[in-house]
């Protein structure tokens, strides 16, 4: 391979690697910084210790907000899947154009600015004299994750062969049985990936939750955001984020192993 021929390939790999490094630099900094022993952020860490992790796991305040985040994410993912899967079935099979207009509405939360929606939400709650409770937060998060769910589940339904449903009917299976025994198992991988994805999007939301969650029910990212504004870059917070990153990474790798996770990404955006 003459060097002249090899050169463009090498250049591409080098540039691609640098961009990837730039993309992952904050994550590397956060994980690196979490092992720092000192009181302030330092990456590469001056002295390595697990002090931050011990402090993190014993801090009641953060643990509580972590629990809150997990609770909201779980509930909203469940409600989202209960609402989105049937919606996807209907969207896949509908023939009238109005329903497709509804689909663009479901996609709106990705495009429309979160801050605008948040201000509107807050005023509605003020107007209706209701305070930011868990139920409202769950509904709001369900709306946040719907676009991702609809996109991923919808895509896995597109490559589902509908004659299977006709075949099942001809063999005597009523519509409900057909759905649960034939359609659902075949689109299950899309649903699982959609749910995992929605869980993480809901878990990491800041802007909307900052506005809507009531004072006594702060989720973890909001707590981190508030802490960053007042107490600065506290390494203990980095420890939490490092744990989250590791968890997210392992879920992604597992997801890749079992459900060809990356196949769904191309449809996600």
């Amino acid at each position: 391979m003459k060097l002249r021929k090899l050169f463009p390939k090498l250049l591409l790999v080098l540039v691609a690697f640098c961009v990837l490094l730039f993309l992952l630099s904050p994550i590397i900094a956060v994980v690196g910084g979490s092992f720092n022993d000192g009181g302030y952020f330092a990456f590469p860490p001056k002295s390595v210790s697990l002090r931050q992790y011990r402090a993190a796991l014993t801090n009641k305040e953060h643990l509580e907000s972590l629990a809150a985040s997990l609770k909201v994410a779980t509930y909203s993912t469940v409600v989202a899947s209960l609402l989105c899967v049937p919606a996807c079935v209907a969207l896949a099979k509908t023939s009238n154009p109005i329903v497709n207009k509804v689909k663009t509405l479901f996609m709106a939360p990705i495009f429309l600015p979160g801050i605008v929606w948040a201000v509107g939400l807050l005023q509605c709650m003020g107007f209706l004299r209701i305070q930011g409770s868990l139920a409202i937060l769950i509904c709001v998060h369900t709306v946040i994750v719907t676009p991702y769910m609809i996109r991923i589940v919808g895509a896995s339904m597109d490559n589902f062969n509908y004659t299977l449903e006709d075949a099942a009917a001809s063999l005597g299976a009523p519509p409900l049985t057909t759905f649960f025994r034939i359609t659902l198992p075949n689109i299950m991988s899309g649903i699982v990936v959609g749910m995992v994805f929605s869980f993480m999007i809901s878990f990491s939301d800041v802007v909307i939750t900052l506005f809507v969650s009531s004072s006594s029910f702060t989720t973890f990212p909001v707590r981190v955001y508030a802490a960053m504004r007042t107490e600065g870059l506290d390494p203990m917070v980095l420890a939490y984020s490092a744990i989250i990153i590791v968890v997210v990474l392992s879920i992604s790798i597992l997801g890749e192993k079992f459900a060809h996770w990356s196949k769904h990404f191309s449809t996600m955006l």
């Binding site: 509930y75 049937p86 004072s215």
Partner: protein, 366 residues
């Protein structure tokens, strides 16, 4: 098809019910009838048994002292449970205004300006003079909410880099300090204080000619940054990016204690500005009696002394006695009278206009 539909609806109703039915601990369940428990003769010694009071307060050292001096003893004696919600005062103010008819918190720890505004705007209950410890407070601590601790807004500077000691607010305008000064952002009480000080120090009329004040302030610029957290500020002072910062005495005491090369000074003309952490009770709080009991204990001698001795927060209670060595760190005794009381309403009234001027002239100062 019908079966599929109702199955789905049932599932949704079920999940949302479990979501709000199973109340997680932190979300306060609004107590059905506060009055009922007090008449209950059975446990007269624990009048507030079963009631939950939610208090919004700053975290860190303040929370620690409050728990030891007020929260634990109260839960012991009255049988109620007190839940502390930590965070900055600006986050609490948002909740106070947006949840005014159905507040999720009962007692709010705010700064001098926010508490005064809250009462004027009718979202917080006016001060109740019948509290037993009320009359022990300094007079300025009895107005615009219940004063908890006094703070003096002065200047803290890096004594290694600033050779010639700073004595008055005007010293900030020394040429060698230009571009090396940091203060907190406006709208916010510290930001408001520095605007007021600039007007007073240079004899400018804030009400009729605010532009001159902001122009004067802009002369100090460009400002390295507007600090929101203290760790960072003192790191920047230590490294010499910032030579002097307008800040509260209580905050800088902590960092000076940690060995930062700084000196805090109560500057002259017009002198250090009086500020205070203040308690207000939400107007529509459902635990008014319990809230007033909590505030009464906070402004009592015992709690105020704990604040002074443990975290050097100057007491608002006149009867608090502390050793001279502690007193030296506090705004105590006759120092209190030397503090300048700021009239906030000038700033409160045209807060919006001043915000625009601040953003355009100060933030963008060259």
């Amino acid at each position: 098809m019908k079966k599929l539909l109702c199955l789905l609806l049932a599932l949704i109703v079920l999940t949302s019910l479990t979501a709000c039915g199973e109340k997680p601990a932190p979300v306060p369940s609004s107590d059905p009838a506060p009055g009922k428990t007090t008449e209950d003769e059975a446990n007269v010694d624990k009048p507030f048994e079963g009631e939950t009071l939610v208090v919004g307060v700053w975290g860190g050292t303040i929370e620690k002292v409050l728990r030891e001096s007020v929260v634990e003893p109260m839960e012991e004696e009255l049988g109620c449970s007190i839940e502390l919600v930590l965070g900055g005062s600006s986050d609490r103010v948002v909740k106070l205004y947006t949840e005014k008819d159905n507040p999720s918190m009962d007692v709010y720890g705010l700064n001098i300006r926010e508490s005064a505004d809250a009462i004027i705007n009718g979202v917080a209950a006016p001060v109740n003079p019948e509290l037993s410890n009320f009359d022990q407070l300094y007079d300025f601590a009895q107005v615009g909410g219940y004063g908890q601790s006094i703070m003096a807004y002065g200047i803290c500077y890096n004594n290694e880099l600033v050779t010639e000691p700073i004595t008055s607010w005007k010293d900030l305008w020394r040429p060698e300090l230009k571009g090396k000064i940091a203060f907190s952002n406006f709208p916010g009480s510290e930001g408001a204080a520095i605007i007021y000080v600039t007007a007073e120090a240079w004899g400018l009329d804030l009400e009729n000619d605010p532009d001159a004040v902001f122009a004067k302030l802009a002369e100090l610029g460009p400002f390295p940054f507007f600090y929101t957290n203290l760790d960072e500020l003192f790191l920047e002072i230590e490294q010499g990016n910032v030579h002097a910062a307008a800040i509260f005495n209580s905050y800088s005491n902590d960092y000076i204690a940690q060995g930062f090369p700084c000196t805090f000074v109560y500057p002259s003309d017009p002198g250090a500005i009086l500020a205070k952490d203040t308690w207000v009770i939400a107007k529509n709080s459902k635990h008014m009696a319990l809230a007033e009991e909590f505030v009464n204990r906070c402004i009592g001698v015992e709690a105020q002394t704990a604040y002074a001795e443990e975290i050097f927060f100057s007491p608002c209670n006149k009867n608090v006695k502390v050793s001279d060595e502690v007193a030296e760190k506090l705004v105590y005794g006759d120092d209190v009278s030397s503090l300048v009381t700021m009239e906030w309403d000038v700033i409160t009234e045209n807060e919006e206009e001043f915000t625009e001027k601040w953003n355009r002239m100060v933030v963008m100062a060259k």
